[in-house]
């Protein structure tokens, strides 16, 4: 016979206001397995926990039911309290009579009746519970960071600084990401590259960081603490060890293609260095664009390369690594201009996006920092900036706010005015969202000191009329139609998950939200964790965010990853699925329904990896032969619980 103790919590009036807790305790006290029952005002308080511990000792309880709030709140509290006095923590169960009862009812009599049923069913469950020990598993003390923008760079540096090894994988030829493309940053207007490049160099010099650029993660297996990853390293055809950056190859290369780093506003060669401060600092041969290295087709670069750094005969390499945690920092892209019919489908050269404008403002950019119209190279005298281009428009485009556009548009207009002193800048906005340190002041400066004209309203149409672009809109504050003839239109395009983010969601099989950003476990309390244990999120891959937020989240992700890999071994919840091999016929239904890939066929029957199993029970419900059961959630226990709920009185 079990010796169960039932402890009913008042939770102030939270429970006692709707449930007659004394009656619950009294009724449960009559149960055949219950030897002690009582109530207390706040069971989770210090005295409450002591009450439970004393009762366990005094009444020699071997099972405990706490009838209180959700197990999500205090299961751990009471399990550890019971463990302190010698009970197995899995012999303690919570009967949730708050969230599932008192909070959702107002009838005392029926609420009490339901609370009794809930508590009684948990008594049946706990009587069937087996004592369990946590599953222990070793940890690979290494972190994989996917994405080499500011988020990935910061996370990698933080992990390395803590003394652990990091693999930083970036799909482009250099780390730096979008931040390397920016000219100045709000709200301080300091040079983006000036603050980023020291971090890039730090990454390249840190012996703990293995930097893999021009590489992609193509496969992942394993579980938290012990992931196996496959990384594909694309060939550069240029040996970074030999290349001395003399530029001879670039000079002779006859192939001209748009330069992605300059958003296509300049050109590069087929053999190129993406930008002067690139890390790693080496050339890459774009084999898709190259004419060919044999002398008949071209081969000019090979001829001029004195150090013989160019080698055509290299192939993609697949590198396998083992890591304990993974930080995903795959960044964002801009919503494509061709989605915006109202603003010319991206077909007019003089309607540009924010990143194009950034490159234009950059000293190393296509115009060497001068603001010029792409169509004719003239300095634009009137520029219209349009905020929320694609954002906050659930009917036509994207429902969410891209968060950074208010700020960078103010910055753009300000920098334009600094470059073109007699220029006029107009900003169309819906609302100004400037909730960051120094942000409101920055907007205020743009409006008051820089004489930028803010117009509240969203333009309905932008079209060309001769040399000019006509912007039609309505000033919703004055209720007047507005028509502005502009030389250049800059669209603050919405942020969307980067292409790499979509790809990595498929490879990692991790959760994404309705807008395809990576999804966190809890938006408030667990904002940097993915629902897959061991995956952590950083930067704009999770949601639109600015540089300070990105860096903060990257450091948070790094510290979360460190808390995984810093342990000698991980403890895993032991209430997982188990197979009765004698009953399993190997039908593989469980394998097909397992959301965690925790079950595999071994020798004609299913086998559960206890570390990967999250104990969701899908397999046990689906198993047609009764071979799969959930520890401490067996069919017998569930039937006992149902019978006790159906029982009268």
């Amino acid at each position: 016979m079990a010796r169960v103790g039932v402890f009913v919590c008042h939770c102030g009036f939270n429970i006692a206001g709707t449930v007659d807790v004394e009656k619950v305790a009294e009724t449960l006290g009559k149960d055949k397995d219950v030897v002690f029952s009582t109530t207390y005002k706040y069971m989770c308080s210090g005295p409450g926990q002591t009450l439970v511990q004393e009762a366990i000792k005094e009444h020699r309880l071997d099972k405990v039911i706490i009838a209180a709030c959700s197990p999500g709140m205090h299961e751990a509290t009471f399990r550890s309290a019971a463990e302190d006095v010698g009970l197995n923590p899995y012999d303690v169960e919570i009967a949730n009579i708050r969230e599932q009862c008192s909070w959702v009812h107002d009838d005392m009599e029926k609420g009490t009746e339901k609370a009794i049923k809930i508590a009684r069913s948990m008594v049946r469950k706990v009587v069937g519970n087996q004592p369990l020990e946590p599953v222990k598993v070793g940890v690979t003390p290494k972190v994989l960071v996917i994405g080499g923008g500011i988020a990935g760079i910061q996370a990698a540096l933080d992990v390395a600084d803590a003394g652990y090894e990091v693999i930083l994988v970036e799909k482009e030829t250099s780390i730096g990401g979008h931040m390397a493309q920016l000219s100045e940053t709000f709200p301080t207007l300091d040079c983006s590259q000036c603050i980023l490049t020291p971090k890039m160099v730090a990454v390249s010099r840190n012996p703990k960081i293995k930097l893999m650029t021009y590489s992609e993660v193509i496969d992942i297996s394993g579980y938290v603490g012990n992931f196996k990853v496959k990384i594909k390293e694309k060939p550069r055809y240029v040996d970074p060890e030999k290349c001395n950056l003399c530029t001879d190859c670039e000079d002779v290369c006859p192939v001209v293609v748009p330069n992605e780093f300059d958003m296509g506003l300049s050109i590069r060669k087929a053999i190129y260095l993406p930008f002067p401060q690139a890390v790693p600092s080496t050339y890459t041969l774009d084999m898709e664009k190259c004419l060919g290295l044999d002398p008949i087709r071209c081969g000019k670069c090979i001829e001029v390369c004195d150090v013989e750094a160019i080698d055509y005969d290299v192939h993609p390499k697949i590198i396998e690594e083992e890591v304990g945690a993974i930080i995903v920092a795959t960044g964002y892209d801009l919503y494509p201009k061709n989605m915006l019919g109202e603003y010319g489908y991206g077909e007019d050269e003089d309607i540009i996006n924010g990143l194009e404008f950034e490159r234009m403002l950059s000293a190393s950019g296509p115009t060497k920092g001068e603001v010029r119209r792409p169509s004719d190279g003239k300095v634009p005298k009137r520029v219209v900036f349009i905020q929320c281009a694609g954002s906050r428009d659930p009917d036509n485009h994207l429902p969410y706010c891209s968060k950074i556009c208010c700020m960078y548009t103010a910055k753009h207009a300000m920098l334009y005015k600094h470059h073109v002193e007699d220029g006029e800048a107009y900003i169309f906005y819906i609302d100004i969202r400037a909730a960051g340190k120094g942000y409101e002041e920055f907007i205020h400066r743009a409006m008051e000191e820089e004489r930028i004209v803010y117009l509240r309203g969203k333009p309905s149409k932008v079209f060309r009329k001769g040399e000019k672009l006509v912007v039609w809109g309505v000033d919703t504050l004055l209720g007047e139609k507005i028509e502005i003839e502009a030389d250049l239109v800059v669209l603050a395009m919405a942020m969307v998950p980067g292409k790499g983010t979509g790809e990595i969601i498929d490879v990692l099989n991790c959760a994404a939200d309705e807008n395809e950003f990576l999804k966190e476990v809890h938006p408030k309390l667990r904002p940097v964790e993915s629902s897959t244990p061991g995956f952590f999120l950083a930067g704009a891959a999770q949601a639109p965010k600015d540089i300070p937020d990105t860096v903060a989240q990257a450091s948070a992700a790094a510290s979360k990853a460190l808390s995984v890999i810093g342990q000698e071994y991980l403890e895993h919840e032991p209430a997982v699925a188990q197979v009765d091999e004698d009953l399993c016929s190997g039908c593989e239904v469980c394998i097909s329904v397992c959301p965690y890939g925790a079950i595999s066929p071994v020798g004609g029957h299913a086998e559960v990896n206890a570390v990967m199993c999250e104990g969701c029970g899908s397999c046990a419900a689906a198993c047609p032969s009764g071979a799969m059961t959930l520890k401490n959630g067996t069919q017998e226990q569930i039937f006992d619980m149902i019978r006790s709920i159906l029982q009268e009185g």
Binding site: D582, L583, C584, S585, G586, C587, E588, V589, I591, S592, V593, G604, S618, A621, A622, C623, P624, S625, G626
Partner: protein, 324 residues
């Protein structure tokens, strides 16, 4: 010599044929036993059974739906030392057990005796006077029954009909009995010890996902690939092994005649939960309740599919009161 009875109740006689089908080995029975009652093999009536003072082993087969069948079953139990539920009807209620879904007895009578093609719309009654003599007919029950819901059974031989290997195993039990040897524990099911997939060598994909159901005639099934992976409902995962995958070898899905695997009471609900778990497993959110319902509605006869042989022994097993 021991005394054996082979007793058909509401039977199609397929079980009799299966016993006869073991061929010359049938003669082995004669070495140890005397068949004292087998109405299919010899013309024996209720009076003949009543006259037998005891039986060692009885193989009862067929469904129970009339008072006469119940009476004979109870009489057999009384006279027999060992009762074997032979075949799916005896074990679980069988295909005739699907009657539990049907309308009331009166409706059956109406259909049978008052349809346009019937001359005289006169219902037979349980007692009627013909030529001055009283004719009694058994009462027709509303529901079908498995044998063990009415009397205690010792062993079970599932199958519609059981296969040769099971009959040989049963013969082994009879031999042991005749020699006073050790017998299997009461309640033993003479069949496999796992679900049918254990015996099936069809290939399975990495993940089985059902996007659409097909009835067997709607699609030419790949003979090497798991039926479920092809959208064809195969009861194999929720059916006891031991048949040697005879239907599957003929490229037809398992219909579940061996009943639930060990430890499972309700074969249909187990299979149903497996099937619904697999249904569009990767697209549940996208399809929503409506989309999933549409997919499920393609199962044209869910009860007949999942409870084809086991409805009377299921947890929810009938539509109305027995009227017994």
């Amino acid at each position: 010599m021991i005394r054996i009875a082979i007793a058909p109740l509401g039977s199609c006689s397929g079980c009799d044929v299966a016993i006869a089908d073991i061929g010359e080995d049938f003669a082995d029975i004669a070495k140890i036993a005397e068949i004292v009652y087998w109405p299919t093999g010899a013309d024996l009536k209720l009076e003949d059974l009543e006259a037998i003072d005891y039986i060692d082993i009885t193989l009862s087969h067929g469904s129970i739906r009339t008072s006469e069948q119940e009476e004979i079953l109870k009489l057999l139990r009384k006279k027999s030392k060992v009762m074997v539920a032979f075949g799916s009807c005896a074990c679980f209620g069988g295909i005739p057990g699907l009657v539990n879904l049907s309308p009331e007895r009166e409706d059956v009578m109406r259909t049978a005796y008052e349809s346009i093609s019937t001359d005289k719309g006169e219902w037979p009654s349980e007692k009627s006077k013909i030529d001055g003599k009283i004719l009694t007919l058994p009462k027709l029950y509303n529901l079908g029954h498995s044998h063990d819901s009415l009397v205690e059974m010792d062993y079970y031989v599932p199958g519609c009909p059981p296969v040769e290997s099971q009959i040989r195993d049963l013969l082994g039990v009879a031999v042991a009995y005749s020699k006073g040897g050790e017998l299997p524990p009461k309640g033993t099911v003479i069949a496999g010890a796992r679900a049918l997939c254990d015996e099936c060598d069809r290939e399975k994909p990495e993940k089985i996902v059902i996007d659409r159901f097909y009835r067997p005639h709607e699609k030419e099934a790949d003979p090497n690939l798991c039926f479920l992976a092809q959208g064809i409902i195969c009861m194999g995962p929720a059916t006891r092994s031991g048949c040697g995958t005879r239907c599957i070898n003929a490229n037809m899905p398992c219909r579940g005649c061996f009943g639930p695997p060990p430890g499972i009471r309700d074969q249909g609900s187990k299979m149903l939960s497996a099937i619904t778990s697999l249904l569009a497993a990767d697209r549940e959110a996208e399809l929503g309740e409506e989309g999933l319902r549409e997919l499920l509605e393609r199962i044209s006869d869910p009860t007949g599919t999942f409870y084809r042989f086991t409805l009377p022994s299921a947890i929810i097993n009938r539509r109305l009161n027995d009227g017994r």
